[in-house]
Subunit: 150 residues, 2 copies
């Protein structure tokens, strides 16, 4: 298995509204905004998708670590809450950030293993989770564009 991966996604804004279809390999993910933000509410909004990515990554990292440690997880569930101040997005004057101000992650684990072993697993998840590390420490983003006239 190659260690270095380039993951690729394409997102397309559908005509007129707030619907976006993103494609990752054979999968398609719809995003939209609720009606009160001008959308048609046919999918989670992008910030909710970001939290889905983090929750999913916490769970899959836990599965990976549990297999490695030969631990059984009877239940593994993550509740995530993201704090967003829309004023940062709307004003965009730099006084309030447009992104999330904080994320709270609460993990519920049911396991027959002693709590100390479960805590050690949780510490591994926190350290290894790729999406968690990306969001907590940030990632350099390089932007480029191509503009075409009709």
């Amino acid at each position: 298995m190659a260690m270095k991966h380039n993951l690729k996604v394409e997102s397309v804004l559908l005509p007129q509204g707030m619907q976006v279809d993103s494609r990752a390999r054979q999968f398609s993910v719809r995003a939209d905004e609720p009606k009160e933000l001008g959308g048609t509410d046919t999918g989670p909004n992008p910030v909710e998708l970001l939290l889905c990515a983090l929750g999913a990554c916490q769970c899959l990292t836990a599965r990976f670590v549990a297999r490695m440690k030969r631990m059984d997880l009877q239940e593994y569930r993550v509740e995530l809450e993201g704090e967003l101040d829309m004023e940062g997005f709307l004003k965009a004057d730099g006084s309030i950030r447009p992104g999330l101000q904080a994320i709270r992650v609460r993990t519920y684990v049911k396991s027959a293993h002693p709590p100390e072993e479960v805590k050690a697993l949780l510490a591994e998840v926190e350290k290894r989770c790729p999406v968690g590390d990306s969001i907590l420490h940030g990632v350099p983003i390089e932007m480029s564009h191509e503009i075409v006239s009709p």
Copy 2:
């Protein structure tokens, strides 16, 4: 419209495999891993979901800014590429980060407006995009847990 939002998501690891279902309001998002990573390939992996969130947010921020500036976007499409070194996840010794090392975002715009106006729109998108700001600058993550014995 309230300015401060708490967005909530719940992610549940399904029994045995690498499938995770995340719920945001009425929406459900499946994540999985490809077979070579031990999954069943029924959905994008979490890092692909992170890129979907970023691509969708770029597109929706563009729609919002275009409406504000009364600009018409005939096409708006974003290609994203994320660089991941799986060794960071597997070794977890701190020498290589487990998260993305870089993200490249290439935006394709077709618009009847002069290129300078489109460039000004792109600059606004870069400044305002909530997911972009979250990933570029990072977000504090507060972790807590509850461990239950069966």
